[in-house]
Symmetry: C3
Subunit: 161 residues, 3 copies
């Protein structure tokens, strides 16, 4: 009788800058808190937020190693998309977040997990970026574009960030 | 009997570069001209396009003052995302827009208002960026992610720019 | 009786960086392979991926010529959004793509065409960027925002990349 309305949300997290990651998790956690199913699909630079801080012991090609060295290692090491200023930007943004009681990004990831948000790491971009599973946090699913599209087909809001 | 189809549109305006802001307003104003309800949700760098040009007399912390000084002040002071070239890029783009009868961005904002587009400033990013209401143009609504999600749930096209 | 569900997808391809273009075509070709109608709407920097490599003989203003000279000329000359490193980034990414059997972008464009993906070049941004039809690859449609919005209204997933 009633209109069946999906309220599922998907977010492709392509960008890895602190400000965009913040936006992605605020939307994702907000939707989950309102009762929506949420799927986050991490690709390319967005994968960096899922990296563990400690150096993982993984056999890598020199090229993969170079890429891995250049890219930020996890939620506490992201850059801002503007005014990064050699790390001052993220520090200042973190300061403003704390002052206004906005959770730091590593806490937002925890909240996302606790709320049952499905976090998928894109296997194709892991290949292209030389990122191995051992380098990423626990609790992720691993899949490709077909899985993303299946999730998006079930959702009513699909964002690319 | 007939399929009820929403044609509402929402756009998260996260980016503040002239070219992305242009794209956002062209889509928003185009949709409104075709009869759609449109909501624009301005967050982070996107807030800069809503800043009034004149210096507002607001009590700010030194950090907020520094952020405010670095960021562009309104629609006529935006940078381009590529080839900004110390301001030459926006100037050239403005020249090309004029030549091809594309409205300047401050006119597009006026058109958006006249067409009844709902423009919401994200209060959480205002906090994080140190932007106060007195610094923004009139006619805005102020709200957070829950309001955005409510709007998006009513829409059939939701973009993140 | 049965719920009629559109599975059409649209992607606004605004960005012109190699990594974002790769994401756009992976999603577009993936959706087409799964039987969806797909429309890609190329605007601003995204138009550069459609440029033909050879210099087209077009009468241009000096300004258009300067813009054209600065912007990448086609799928094989794109930059990466991070770590471009004077061209080393795209080269390394291409190397990793090849190693993991990910098609190069010019092949993905071919696949998109073969799968019947509708590729539209945004005429307003062509004007603003000084790009002429003679400079773009064959098989494109030319249209503006109203056409994009019409396509988006028929789709269930609409991304802005």
């Amino acid at each position: 009788m009633a209109e069946t309305t999906t309220t599922k949300k998907t977010i492709v997290v392509f960008s890895g800058e602190m400000d965009k990651i913040l936006a992605a998790f605020v939307i994702a956690n907000g939707a989950a808190a309102m009762g929506d199913d949420v799927t986050m699909f991490f690709t390319f630079w967005g994968l960096n937020v899922l990296r563990v801080d400690a150096s993982a012991h993984v056999a890598k090609t020199p090229l993969e190693r170079a890429f891995g060295w250049m890219m930020p290692r996890g939620a506490d090491h992201l850059r801002t998309s503007h005014f990064n200023l050699a790390g001052a930007g993220p520090h200042l943004m973190g300061h403003m977040m704390k002052r206004h009681h906005v959770d730091p990004i590593h806490s937002m990831i925890e909240t996302a997990r606790e709320q049952g948000i499905k976090m998928i790491a894109c296997t194709m971009s892991m290949d292209v970026m030389g990122i191995h599973r051992e380098e990423l946090i626990d609790g992720l699913e691993y899949a490709g574009v077909a899985t993303y599209l299946g999730e998006a087909d079930e959702a009513n809001v699909n964002l690319f960030i």
